[in-house]
Symmetry: C2
Subunit: 400 residues, 2 copies
């Protein structure tokens, strides 16, 4: 990792031709006049567009069937149908993130397509206990050189409604999970006050940030969100909480919504959206205008919940662009921001971006503009992670 590399002949989003000098896994210099170090390697970028490595802000690699035989979905439509079906299926089908290496296969596919940072929510329940977590720890370890992975301990089957889950979440955090997850305190756990209190107490005890799945719609979602913001404020957890999905913010009267957005901005709570086309979504540009960090993620990919999604953050940016009807080039750049800078900010990935001192996580694509990269999703010409070339012409290099 100490040998230097010059990535020459690439273009920034504004069209400026530059070279990037990389040493010790970091960007050492970036500009028009940057030259190779004596004895260093030189990689000609062929005039391609230089992008920062992509950030997956919300996925579930432990659930995936990526690369496996097709899972025939015959699941009922309710959230609880999907939760029970999955838990039973994983218990009885032999699906196992730890031993089948499905999580690893999906994580490698992310790297192949240019993702160098990733936040994944891992199911913790009283059937599986920490088994899926162990599988994902193993994947994280295997890819530690090339993929910066945050692990969220996530009570997919509910927390208070399944006694023992709080303790398992504590064990998961003690074992190395980075973030405490949570799920619909009213509509799944049935007691928003007690559920949120338990979540914030756990987070405080283990000194961990929170990332909560909030699917609760409209007024009930707004009610839960208000309780959550009260606790962020009371416990001083500013800038340490992400609300994922937050469908309610897409379906409230403007005055009520805007009052919530003001508090969210003030408490530096971040929002995550997968930009689902069939659900209300938080207002992207309005959130940004208010100073809220709002970022993107795939949610699950090829799992028993839903078959959709690919481990390609340019495709997710495209779907975000379509969901929010972003057509102008400057608007589509916002969709890309959701899977790059804003996601790094929202998740708290450090040393991110195209500047001197940042980790050298870089992607080259043949595109005239960021908008074209998002819309046409070209094969990745080159991917660097931690200063090292990890994929070329859409394929992982042998060592990854």
């Amino acid at each position: 990792m100490t040998r230097s590399l010059l990535l020459s002949n690439v273009r920034l989003a504004d069209g400026q031709p530059v070279s990037v000098s990389i040493a010790d896994g970091r960007i050492a210099a970036l500009g028009a006049q940057v030259e190779a170090q004596p004895g260093g390697l030189v990689e000609d970028g062929g005039g391609a567009l230089l992008l920062p490595g992509f950030v997956e802000g919300h996925t579930h690699i432990d659930k995936t069937n990526w690369g496996q035989s097709w899972y025939r979905n015959e699941v009922g439509p309710a959230l609880t149908d999907r939760i029970s079906n999955e838990r039973e299926w994983r218990k009885t089908s032999g699906h196992d993130a730890a031993t089948q290496s499905l999580a690893l296969a999906l994580a490698r596919a992310f790297v192949q397509a240019g993702t160098t940072r990733l936040r994944t929510h891992v199911d913790i329940d009283t059937d599986a206990r920490l088994r899926y977590l162990d599988g994902v720890f193993s994947t994280r370890q295997t890819l530690s050189d090339v993929l910066d992975m945050q692990i969220v301990a996530f009570p997919q089957s509910g927390m208070l409604i399944r006694p023992g889950t709080v303790e398992l979440l504590g064990s998961a955090l003690a074992a190395g999970a980075d973030v405490l997850g949570a799920l619909d305190p009213a509509l799944i756990d049935g007691d928003p006050v007690a559920s949120l209190n338990a979540t914030f107490e756990l987070a405080e005890r283990y000194h961990k940030p929170i990332d909560i799945h909030l699917h609760e719609p409209g007024e009930v979602g707004a009610f839960t969100l208000k309780l959550l913001l009260d606790r962020v404020e009371a416990m001083g957890m500013q800038a340490q909480v992400v609300v994922s999905h937050a469908f309610c913010l897409g379906a409230l009267p403007e005055r009520e919504r805007d009052a919530l957005l003001e508090r969210i901005a003030h408490l530096r709570v971040a929002l995550l959206t997968s930009a689902p086309p069939s659900r209300p979504v938080p207002p992207l540009k309005l959130c940004r205008d208010k100073g809220i960090t709002i970022f993107g993620g795939n949610d699950g990919i090829r799992d028993t919940w839903s078959p959709y999604g690919v481990p390609d953050m340019l495709e997710r940016a495209m779907l975000i662009g379509m969901r929010y009807d972003l057509r102008r080039d400057d608007d589509i750049a916002i969709a890309f921001d959701c899977v790059s800078n804003a996601a790094a900010q929202g998740c708290g990935f450090s040393d991110y971006g195209l500047h001197v001192g940042a980790r050298a996580d870089l992607v080259l694509v043949d595109a005239q503009s960021v908008a074209q990269a998002v819309v046409s999703r070209p094969k990745r010409r080159l991917v660097l992670a931690n200063g090292r070339i990890v994929a070329r012409n859409g394929e992982l290099v042998d060592a990854v």
Copy 2:
């Protein structure tokens, strides 16, 4: 075209292994025991999934920049901004569907990805007159062996508000356009009664079906739609009208919506949706339950309106599936129906499907199920159009 071909070793959607015997461009036999004709060619399908050729129900190949330098979109948000911008840009930029062969490039890309029938709306206005139409006629002629193309004469810049347009539409129909187009009789033309009357009179005079772009939202769209249905009934144009987009049907109170759907079903009016994630859409499964033909299309691809879209009907089926939250395999099959059987039905393409006597338009993909084909959009292993192999392993054969 008279030589026979046996496509052996393929699977139907239900898993049944079959062979397909093709003669004179038609399916001569299809079943488990079908064998090659003496002296006929045999193509081994490698156990792949057999699908009917795809149908693009609504696109605009004359507008596209497919394969050209990136168009930097800085257009304002209103429908009229987009209309004016496009008309001016096409007049001044040198973009020309006839001479630059962009329409041809896009049409060929459709064939490459398995589309064998396509309905395209071509701009007719008092600046361009029939120039774009001539370009698309030329594309249709060039690909006549492999792509069954319907051309809609479409008043993109409005009809009554631009005097001379009615006459140009008449000339377009006389010159060989198959379908009369129309656009927002209230919100663009400003006079829904007069605009619809002119449209139905033109259609009657030239004995052509109608395909109207109806973007008008909510109550005003419902008002226009009612006027339209009155005229379908009065003029006996049952089964000859398509309403494209019909956003209003996604945003009306149920009782009002259902009354309109009953009339739509009764008058055998078909609906087209591109399943836009940022707009209300007609209720897909409810329409089907009521016996309405509802089908899918891309709308424009890489044009000044929007950069999104690819000439791949499996990706459009995926977007339809995501828009309507279709997750079960049997539901995703409905999304595929929207770009195959339902689209052929809605547009009136004849001799369509996987049955004896149908035109041999066939697609092979490596997928275990229709749902997997939709979600993973694999490279097309083989495409046959009119009984002839036109693409192999994702690439057009030389002769196309």
